[in-house]
C-alpha cells in the first residue's frame, strides 16, 4: 500500500511520516494533501494556550480521556520552542500524556516552533489537515506557552481555551496584553491552590466590560492534576461549539482561518521563488553593497528583487 492508502486505513506510521514531510517542506507532501483534502471530515480544533507550566499538557491529557469515553478519535499537536541558537528543541509535552500513547484512537505529535513566533509552528495547520484526513474527530493544539504573542492559535482553532493559574500576579498583566480577546473559554487550573476565586472574579469583572458581545466566555475553575472540573470544561467547550454552529460563526471563522492560511502559503511561496532567483544571480549581496555605497537607494533595490518574479 502507498502512503495515501495507509493514511486512510488509519496507519499511524503513514500519518507520522506525512506530518514530517510537511514540516520539512517536502513538495511531495503538498501533492499528497492536494489529493487527500477532500477526504477530510472537518475535525473540530481546540486550542489550549496559556503561560508556561500552567498545566496545558495535563489538561489536554484529561480532556482527551473524556472524549475517548465518548469514543471520539483524538489528535494532539503539542508545540514547544525551538532554540534559535542551535535549531534544536526539547519537546516534553508527552511526559503528561504517556497513558494515551497506546490508545489506537489517539495520535500525539510534538513539534518545535522552528522559527515561528506566534505560538505554533508553520506546519501546524498542515498537521491539523493530516490528522483530519486520518479520521480524528477532535484535534487539540497545545501552544508553546510563552505568554503574550500566541495569537496564531486564534487563526487556527475553532475554540480557544485559555489556561490560567491562581495568584501568579500576572493575571492583570495577561488581561492587559490582549488575552481577553483570544479566549473562548477560560480555565483557571490548579484551583486546588489558593486564590482561584479571586482570579475568577477579576476575569469576570473584565468580561463585564464587553457587554455587547453575543457570546460571553465562561470562566471555569479546574484542577487537571486532580482530574477535577474536566467534564464541566468539556461541556463549556461543546457549548461554544454549538454556539458557533448555530450562529453560523463556525463557517465564518473557518473562512477567516483559511484566508489567513492562504495568505501565509502564498507569501512563503513567493518569497521562496524570488529568493531562489536572487541567490542564483548573487543579486542580494550585490544590491546590498550598492545601497551601502550609496550607488542605489534601498527602494529601487527592492523593486529590482521583486521584479524577478516576472523573469
Amino acid at each position: 500500500m502507498n502512503i495515501e492508502e495507509r493514511l486512510l486505513a488509519g496507519d499511524k506510521r503513514a500519518c507520522a511520516r506525512l506530518i514530517s514531510m510537511l514540516e520539512n517542506n517536502d513538495r511531495e507532501a503538498f501533492e499528497l494533501v492536494k489529493k487527500l483534502y477532500y477526504k477530510s471530515k472537518g475535525a473540530y480544533v481546540i486550542g489550549i494556550t496559556g503561560s508556561p507550566g500552567s498545566g496545558k499538557s495535563t489538561l489536554t491529557d484529561k480532556l482527551t480521556k473524556v472524549l475517548r469515553k465518548a469514543n471520539k478519535k483524538v489528535g494532539i499537536i503539542a508545540i514547544d520552542p525551538t532554540s534559535p541558537f542551535s535549531g534544536g528543541a526539547i519537546l516534553g509535552d508527552r511526559i503528561r500524556m504517556n497513558d494515551l500513547s497506546l490508545d489506537k484512537d489517539v495520535f500525539i505529535r510534538s513539534m518545535g516552533t522552528r522559527g515561528s513566533l506566534g505560538g505554533i509552528s508553520k506546519a501546524t495547520r498542515g498537521a491539523v489537515r493530516v490528522l483530519d484526513i486520518f479520521g480524528c474527530d477532535y484535534i487539540f493544539i497545545e501552544t508553546v506557552g510563552v505568554g503574550q504573542s500566541e495569537i496564531d492559535i486564534v487563526k487556527t482553532a475553532d475554540t480557544v481555551v485559555m489556561v490560567m493559574v491562581p495568584n501568579m500576579g500576572d493575571d492583570i498583566q495577561a488581561i492587559k496584553a490582549g488575552t481577553m480577546e483570544i479566549a473562548d473559554v477560560f480555565a483557571i487550573n490548579k484551583s486546588d491552590l489558593d486564590g482561584a476565586d479571586k482570579t475568577k472574579l477579576e476575569l469576570e469583572m473584565n468580561l463585564d466590560l464587553n457587554e455587547e458581545k453575543s457570546y460571553r466566555p465562561p470562566v471555569l475553575k479546574v484542577a487537571a492534576g486532580k482530574n477535577q472540573g474536566i467534564e464541566e470544561l468539556i461541556m463549556s467547550i461543546m457549548k461554544h461549539k454549538r454556539y458557533l454552529e448555530e450562529s453560523g460563526e463556525l463557517k465564518n471563522r473557518r473562512i477567516r482561518n483559511n484566508k489567513q492560511e492562504l495568505i501565509e502559503l502564498t507569501q512563503d511561496e513567493l518569497i521562496r521563488i524570488i529568493m531562489e532567483k536572487a541567490v542564483e544571480k548573487d543579486l542580494l549581496d550585490k544590491l546590498a553593497k550598492e545601497v551601502t555605497e550609496k550607488n542605489l537607494d534601498p527602494y529601487t533595490a527592492k523593486d529590482t528583487i521583486v521584479n524577478l518574479i516576472r523573469s
Binding site: 506510521r13 532554540s83 534544536g88 528543541a89 516534553g92 511526559i95 500513547s101 500525539i108 518545535g112
Partner: protein, 131 residues
Amino acid sequence: MDRPIRVLVAKPGLDGHDRGAKVVARALRDAGMEVIYTGLRQTPEQIVAAAIQEDVDVVAMSILSGAHNHLFPKVVNLLRGEGADDILVIGGGVIPDDDIPGLKDAGIEAIFTPGTATSDIIYFINNNLKR
C-alpha cells in the same frame, strides 16, 4: 533537505531519576536535534508507540537498574514488528561489559556507558542514521 534529526530519549524500567537522560537530551538539542522526551518508567510498548507517532530517526534509551538485557531487545523487536527497522536504536546506562556484545547482536547499535562524552553520542548518531 535540511531537516533536524529527531530523537526519542526514553527511560524504560523502574529507575527513580533521569538526570543522565536529561543531560543527553540537552546536549542533543544543542547539537541541533529535536528531542522528544517522555519521562520516567516507560514500557517498551509506550516507547515504540511514541517513536512511531513522532516519526523519529533515533531511539535513545537509558537504564540504571539492570533490566537492559530484557528491555532494550524488546524495543528493537517491537519496532521491527511495526516495520520501523529504519530507526537507529542506541542505549546507555550502567551496563556491564559482558552484556554489550549480546545487546549489539540484538540490534542495539551502540551502548554508551557512564562517562561517555556527549560529543561521542552526537558523533555516532550523525554517522549512523539509517535513513
